[in-house]
Structures are given as structure tokens and as C-alpha cells.
Symmetry: C3
Subunit: 140 residues, 3 copies
């Protein structure tokens, strides 16, 4: 059994879904693991992770719209407003999605379904540098 | 340290929670692992995973009802409608729940609490064949 | 490769976020693992796990308020009411957050971001004894 860890920086340009499936695949390839488990971890509380459809970009736009409506900017009852109107909604949207996702590795590949892509879900309005960590464990 | 992977097909008959706790337990038994970790992964973006109460079926019905109200069919602003009115709500409900869940294994058993069952949460209206992958790692 | 498992009891005093970052760190230290993966698992269906901001306590209060509004006590359509008005909302809030979270371990430490803390999110109104299990795997 072997393991490896890799940190990846994702540069975001405002709220939305940024695909990191290639980074996932490259990490598995570089690890030499043939069968095992890869875990993705997001080191922030105002962006998150999501596996979602990689085909029609409308799905990502609609997901973004849904979360914008569920936890909109300017909710009157919010007390944490020091970093602006998009700050607390960002924490809420992160809480509603994922901080970590684990995916089995089969025959050197992530066992993603045909339509699954891995995304960093940015919830802040301004550009950010985000840090994601991949951990791979398994048999080479 | 040993590991094993198993793919399971779940046949769904419309939106709702389908219990797969037996498949989880059988996978652990077959692996021979006495202590370790099992990870469940759902290979779709319009169904998901959930650990929820396995006692009163009303809990599952109420969960289904809640998500039906939170992301209902026919939201006017949705643009991704090619596969019907239940398609985008299914992606949203999947995003709000889990694509992967990891459970420790203690003394040959999944460390589930007394009232915890593992469910595939189908969000589409029509029957589907769903693929779930179990990865087990630990000491035999 | 080595692994270890530890069960921790968390005593809650009503709905809210209870930090368990210290328990996470202590578990990793005691395991002797230098690089690897730690998985946290919550053995209940009416409380859950969340990684969120550990700086301004207003963030936790606002998160609590958001979920109280999204799935409030006394929703008229709920059928599972045997354990009181806070029971089904607790299951719903648990479904919307996490039952398990996995975090890479780098240089003997959980790879948490600067502002990330690990929390048990209690959704019931009365005090409860909650059980959380940590599983650590990696290289000593």
C-alpha cells in the first residue's frame, strides 16, 4: 500500500463552479496507484467542493442561481457582515455543499460516472486563490 | 493492510430513499476487513447518498417532501430543462446531499449508530439503474 | 501503513455548533501518523458535522439561524412528530450537512486551512450525548 499527497491552487474569478477534474486525474496518474481511494479536501469556509454534471454548462449556471436564491446577499437577519454582503452567504453555501469528497480508483482511474466532473464551488464575489489538497492511497 | 472494491447496482422506481445498508454490510463481510474504513461513492449527478433514520418510514417520506419543496419541479428561472421538469431539481437535490460517505469499520462491522441506515436518494421521477461503488481498506 | 480508531463523546446543550478541533488534533497526535488521512464520522441522524470558520462566533450564530429558518420547527406538512417539533427539522438539517468528513494529514497535522475548525452541529433542542468516531490511516 502506498500513498501520496498533492496541493493544488485554484484561481477563481468570482462565484461559480471551476472544474478540477484534470487536476484529480493528473494526481492519480502521478501517484502510480492502480486501485485505491482519492480524497479531495478544500481548505476554506467560503468555497466548497461539488461533483456535478460536466456536459451542459446550463446545469452549473442553474446550480449557481439556486444557491444565490437560497442564501442571497443582503439577508436582513445576518450579523456577520464585516467582509461584505457576499461573506455570510458564502459560508452558508459552503455548509450546504462539501468540504471533502472521496472517490475510489479503479484500473488507474477515478471511478467517476460518465457525466461526473469535480468542481471547486467559489461562493465569494471577488477573485480568490484557493487551496485544494488531494490524498491518494492504494496499491501501485 | 488490505483493500477491496465492489460495484453495486441499485434499481430505483422514482424519487425516494432506497436502503443499501445490507449491501454495505455484505461488502465489509466479504472483504474480511476487521478494522478500517469503508467509502461509498455514487456515480451519478441526479441521485445521491444519505445516512438517515432507519426506524420510522415517515422520516424518509418527510425528507423527500422537504427536498421536493426546497427545489420543486417547474422553478421558473431554470434553463436546463432538456430532460424534463424533474431534471434540474434532481441535480440541485444531489448537490445538497452527498456523493460520497466514509464509515469506520470496528470489529468487522460498519460503525453505524443504532438508528442509522445508508440510503441511495433517487431524485428523478422515472425508474433508473444506479451504480454505487464501495471501497474498503483496513486490517484483516 | 498504520491505522487507529478513536470514539469521542460530545455533550451538547441544545442546537448549535460545538467545536471538536482539539479532539481531532489529539487523535492525530496519539496515532503517531505523520502523513495520511483522518476521517470523522457522526453516529446520529439528528446532529451532523461541519467544517466552518473558527474566528468570528457570529458566523456560527448566523449558520444556526439560517438552518433554523430553512427547516423551522412546526412545518405544517411534517408527519414525523413523535419526538417533538424539533425532531424532523433536526433530521432535515443533518441531511443538508455532513455525516462524514475526511481531512489529509501533512507533517503530523490535519491539513485544515487557517480559518477552518471542525464542529459537531447539534440540531435537537435538548442536551444530548453524541458519539463521533475518528479513523486515522497513514505512515508513522
Amino acid at each position: 500500500m502506498v500513498q501520496t499527497t498533492r496541493a493544488v491552487t485554484v484561481r477563481t474569478r468570482g462565484a461559480g463552479l471551476y472544474e478540477i477534474t484534470r487536476e484529480l486525474k493528473d494526481t492519480i496518474s502521478a501517484s502510480g496507484v492502480q486501485s485505491g481511494l482519492v480524497t479531495v479536501f478544500c481548505r476554506h469556509t467560503s468555497c466548497s467542493l461539488l461533483i456535478q454534471e460536466n456536459a451542459d454548462p446550463d446545469v452549473r449556471a442553474d446550480l449557481q442561481e439556486f444557491f444565490s436564491r437560497l442564501a442571497p446577499h443582503g439577508m436582513a437577519w445576518v450579523t456577520h457582515t464585516t467582509e461584505g454582503p457576499d461573506d455570510m452567504p458564502a459560508h452558508i453555501r459552503a455548509a450546504l455543499t462539501q468540504t471533502s469528497i472521496s472517490i475510489p480508483i479503479l484500473n488507474t482511474l477515478a471511478a467517476l460516472g460518465t457525466w461526473q466532473g469535480l468542481y471547486l464551488f467559489e461562493h465569494r464575489a471577488a477573485p480568490h486563490e484557493r487551496s485544494v489538497i488531494f490524498h491518494v492511497i492504494g496499491e501501485a
